[in-house]
């Protein structure tokens, strides 16, 4: 076999190496460009998915509100009206009969009906957003506080009126969050003291709710069977408001909830 010229061989080798490197550069450029496009596409898909989830959440919350409104209306118009009429009849019986035993029974029945009517009114108030339209957010939350104080809980409320500049939907969503937090404090936490602050902070609106109840562990907070829809509902509504929610709790140390809302 003849020996190829030395320079010829070295040139061939250099050309080979350069071609290899050009090929590598082509691969790298292809990857850089396509990776950017793939990332953009992935981001678009993720955004579409998030938009879809938000739309679904909006729709679920809206239908929940409609349902609540319908139930509140039915309770008020049907049950409330019937109970009021029944109470009138029983009061009438109380005055028209002479038998003391029957009078006493009628009086007790009237009291029971009065209490039931009061409960129905509370339920209607809780269910219907009419309370917000009628009294405004600050007064509605104050009324919630009053109801809690009536159960023996010490409640410290401070709500800035700036919250009423939020849209009606946002106020209703925030009101539902407060309702749920109050319900958690009474039903699950067995708290004796509850603090709520809703104040502007920089360009945000900060909701701070703390109780001195029994608290819970992070495992409990994420176990769907134990938390039910309470915390999940709060998170979903906070998401709808575009807020940042932070829940801090530990056993025996109470619970603190901070919600930062764009304002």
């Amino acid at each position: 076999m003849d020996k190829p010229e030395a320079l010829e061989f070295i040139h061939l080798l250099y050309i080979g190496v350069v071609m290899m490197l050009v090929l590598v550069i082509a691969v790298v450029v292809f990857v850089v460009l396509h990776q950017k496009n793939a990332h953009l596409l992935q981001a678009q898909l993720r955004q579409q998915e998030l938009d879809y989830q938000a739309a679904m959440l909006h729709s679920v919350v809206a239908s929940q509100e409609n349902e609540r409104e319908r139930i509140a209306q039915d309770l008020h118009d049907e049950i409330g009206a019937s109970l009021s009429t029944a109470r009138l009849f029983i009061n009438q019986v109380q005055y028209e009969v002479d038998t003391p035993h029957v009078q006493e029974m009628a009086q007790r029945a009237s009291q029971i009906l009065a209490e039931t009517l009061q409960n129905v009114r509370h339920i209607v108030q809780n269910l219907s957003p009419a309370i917000l339209e009628k009294f405004g957010f600050c007064r509605a939350v104050a009324l919630l506080g009053d109801h809690l104080e009536a159960t023996g809980l010490r409640v410290d409320l401070q709500v800035d009126e700036v919250v009423e500049s939020l849209s009606a939907t946002a106020q209703l969503t925030l009101y539902r969050i407060v309702q749920e937090l109050f319900a958690n404090a009474t039903k699950h936490a067995q708290a004796s003291c509850l603090t709520l602050r809703l104040l502007p902070e920089a360009d945000k609106l900060k909701l701070f709710v703390a109780d001195d109840g029994q608290g819970f562990t992070p495992e409990l907070a994420t176990a769907p069977r134990l938390t039910g829809m309470g915390l999940a509902g709060i998170r979903a509504r906070a998401g709808l408001l575009g807020g940042h929610l932070e829940i801090t709790s530990s056993l025996g140390q109470g619970t603190q909830v901070i919600l930062l809302l764009p304002h």
């Binding site: 190829p4 080979g16 190496v17 990857v31």
Partner: protein
């Protein structure tokens, strides 16, 4: 001892390796697990390079270190990519590939030992092929699951690009290595100059990847 220009270039190729080793030492605490493997590889490569250069200057054969270096280098690279690429196939294949390559490199070294300067290229060619496949798999994974719009901000992009440059060039160099030794002994040193240049590119990309590495 008077060194030719080519020999000087080959000796100076250790500088990017030393810089990469220094960067690895400076950034060690912040490095995530895969890049710690890279740091170990850089230190090991520097140690081997210095050790082999000393033997070279003493005119002792350093070819016995070659199979050891190839096996450990590939083992560390396979470890690095099995952490980055994910999936189960690479962790499963990793050890059989490393052991297989070690056996091939050992046998090749043993068979060529008597022939002195002839370099066994089969192990290096296989290593080049495997590493090229690993880097291409990394690129494929990045295209399938892009974690950022700017892949050049990822340290592993620079590691893979450096490796692809180095081993693509290496593949050609080791293919022609014995051909060059056989026909043009005097010109063969030119091949090592090209190899040194590729080595410098590789360790520069290593150093950059270690430098830009995000905090753990």
């Amino acid at each position: 001892m008077k060194l030719s220009n080519e020999q000087l270039v080959i000796l100076l190729a250790v500088v990017p390796n030393a810089i990469a080793a220094l960067v690895a030492a400076l950034r060690w605490r912040q490095l995530p697990s895969p890049l710690r493997t890279l740091a170990v590889l850089v230190w090991f490569a520097l140690f081997t390079e210095v050790f082999c250069r000393v033997l070279w200057l003493l005119k002792w054969s350093n070819l016995f270190a070659f199979p050891i270096y190839v096996t450990i280098e590939f083992g560390l690279l396979a470890g690095l990519y099995s952490q980055v690429i994910g999936g189960r196939w690479l962790p499963r294949l990793r050890w059989p590939l490393v052991v297989g390559l070690g056996v091939v490199a050992g046998l090749e070294g043993f068979l060529h030992f008597a022939q002195g300067v002839v370099v066994g290229n089969l192990a290096r060619l296989l290593e080049s092929l495997f590493v090229i496949l690993l880097t291409l798999t990394y690129y494929y994974t990045s295209l399938r699951r892009p974690s950022s719009a700017y892949i050049w901000r990822e340290p592993m992009f620079w590691v893979s690009t450096g490796l692809l440059f180095f081993f693509a060039g290496n593949f050609l160099i080791y293919t022609f290595m014995n051909f060059a030794y056989y026909y043009h002994r005097q010109q063969a040193v030119q091949i090592w100059v090209v190899h040194a240049a590729l080595n410098s590119i590789l360790y520069s990309t290593y150093a950059y990847a270690l430098w830009i590495s995000p905090k753990r």
